[in-house]
Symmetry: C2
Subunit: 387 residues, 2 copies
């Protein structure tokens, strides 16, 4: 019953490794969800989230569910039946956004590109002219493809059509710049288990005053009661009106994880993610492997490496896990069986993990007949890390 | 940043106190949500939940949200727009069920009674004849009133109209008998932070094969993607298809909390909840206070005590918290300012907590001019505990 889980190096698409400080915070005794001490913690969390989202939005809170609940809250609160919305889709999570829009009975137009490519703002502009969207939704960091989609050109299109901008920052927040106020993002959500290095279970969320204005003047009730922000905001706001029981322990953990981020400094943290990503890319390239995404659109937090011919996807991942205690992710959607997804998120984004992964990958690949010069990956990565 | 929360005796409507074993489980290092070790834990949790729900339902899982997410999952998956449903309502959580039904665009008929009274099956029967409900929903343990609603008479009505039976067992599961198979409950949900004594954040859920048959033959898609059980069941079932990232740490905690319950034995646990409840009732009665609910319908896990005249509600609760580290709940909805809600759930249901609460309450009340003979509450409770 009480057996201890194995130690893993979590280099998949999340969860990432969690600091012992965060695990310790999780294990503290509980207070009630309306206890003055918990209310103070809620305030701290909101302040810290504002720093990490780079925003002054009053409504900046963790939604009580995983990143997908953050996505659902972002859609059901800001979309009404019949609304024209545009989803700029470049992977599985963009597809999911479109599915959420349809379940809200929105008129959903989709612009899409093949998995692994970024969206072309020109194409979005053309479709926006046709459908005149009240809201444009896009995934910043596509966890399924490894593409980082620039947000500012899409904001310009939103400005032309007076559209709200909804951004999925699940795999970028805390690892890449996510500048909510500067980029004029209206609705933004993330997950705790990626670059924030907190266990999964909460979805950081923020909404601009303009989005809140829309929310408070909706014609219809939100179809979700659990995620209805007109109610949730009264619990996180000054009134502290009971809505649902907040996940107390998970909020302890989030506070600690955000505290660690602020101590490190966001810029330092972004630079660390970039450096370790560059080392990983240098390593796999030196081994003769290819990255799926072209350099200027690569995520630092999630690296998609093309599986070379003759190499068995599942066998490699299983060997990495069982022999090296190293988890990486398989491909998702159109990229299933074609790429590996190698996460370098939060606590996991460390030089030693990059080097150890390259070492382990070389062993697994050469045992399957793949040829590369011994130590080439580790050596190339080490050079980048030494710069 | 890292200050430790105060120790509290959590005698409110939840969260209840959590065993150090569960806190320790929370703090274990994370594995991935598709790791073979985690899949094994998922199987264990399902087995344990079946034991606690007294069911053999294959779909018996924790929903990734708090008890309210369990309620929402139970409604959005099993109700379609235009469906005739009947909500038998005897408190705030029944009202919430009706609200969830309306947000699903169901034709919702409500039978209600004043807060603090149980429902009359006759009345439900009369309304069922009129509206011919496809589903009847009822709260087993009304956390807002302290009423335990007998389920079997309502099942008989369901049988007459071939209706599905949906039961909210948030405040009863693990503290009172909840016999899903014997009572032929089709859809049942709970929360982790009540009589299961696990932190809030998951919602134990089970559905009968008949409910699943309905689910799989729905005419419309579930309006929630996050809670869509046609998708969620593929992650918890044999396929292990990725849906959303499971809250790994919370599932560690739930496994441990359920293990503790099975070690104690459900019957022993129910008996413990009953005994401590009887002691509490004897104590407050000896002090001259009144219980809100008549004896045969009283919850063991949540005791509603009428606030005596001349006593200040908020002042009393604040004094209990600040001087005695004891949290109790205020009234909710129609009972706000009229009752206190005193929880004796899971780990909190202990003789020492009953005695200490009565001692502390006497001090708080007499300081406000309330008159009762010194030590009468503690003495009466002690007699019951000695039986």
């Amino acid at each position: 019953m009480s057996h201890f889980p194995s130690e893993r190096i979590l280099m998949g698409p999340g969860p990432s490794n969690v600091s012992p400080r965060v695990l310790e915070a999780l294990s503290r005794p509980l207070v009630g969800h309306l206890d003055p001490e918990f209310l103070a913690i809620m305030n701290e969390i909101q302040d810290l989230l504002r720093q990490v989202f780079r925003t002054s939005n009053p409504l900046t809170i963790p939604i009580s569910g995983t990143g997908s609940a953050g996505m659902e809250a972002s859609v059901v609160n800001f979309v009404e039946p019949g609304d024209s919305v545009l989803v700029a889709q470049h992977g599985v999570f963009g597809q999911r956004l479109a599915e959420e829009m349809r379940r809200c009975r929105a008129e959903c137009t989709v612009v899409s590109v093949p998995f692994g490519e970024p969206l072309d703002p020109e194409q979005i502009q053309v479709m926006a002219e046709k459908c005149r969207p009240r809201l444009i939704a896009v995934v910043h960091a596509e966890t399924s493809t490894g593409v980082l989609q620039p947000i500012e050109p899409i904001r310009e299109i939103c400005d032309r059509f007076d559209s709200l901008l909804l951004v999925d920052a699940v795999t970028s927040l805390g690892g890449h710049p996510v500048l909510v106020d500067e980029w004029k993002i209206d609705i933004c959500y993330s997950g705790t288990q990626k670059c924030l290095s907190c266990p999964p279970g909460l979805a950081p969320f923020t909404a601009s005053p303009r989005a809140i204005e829309y929310l408070n003047s909706r014609q219809t009730k939100c179809q979700s009661w659990y995620l209805d922000l007109t109610l949730v905001q009264n619990y996180w706001g000054e009134n502290r009106t009971y809505h649902h029981t907040a996940p107390v322990s998970m909020n302890y953990a989030l506070r600690e994880a955000l505290g660690i981020i602020v101590e490190e400094g966001l810029e330092m943290r972004w630079a660390r993610h970039e450096r370790n990503h560059q080392a990983l890319v240098a390593g796999v390239s030196a081994m003769g492997l290819e990255m799926k995404v072209s350099p200027e659109f690569r995520l630092w937090s999630l690296n998609t490496v093309v599986i070379p011919e003759g190499v068995n996807d599942l066998q490699t991942r299983q060997e990495l896990l069982s022999k090296y205690h190293l988890e990486i992710g398989g491909g998702l959607g159109d990229l299933a069986g074609k790429v590996w997804r190698v996460g370098l998120m939060g606590e996991t984004s460390k030089a030693q993990n990059v080097l150890y992964f390259l070492h382990a990958l070389e062993k697994c690949l050469t045992s399957q007949g793949f040829r590369c010069s011994a130590g080439s990956g580790v050596s190339a990565a080490s050079d980048v890390l030494a710069e």
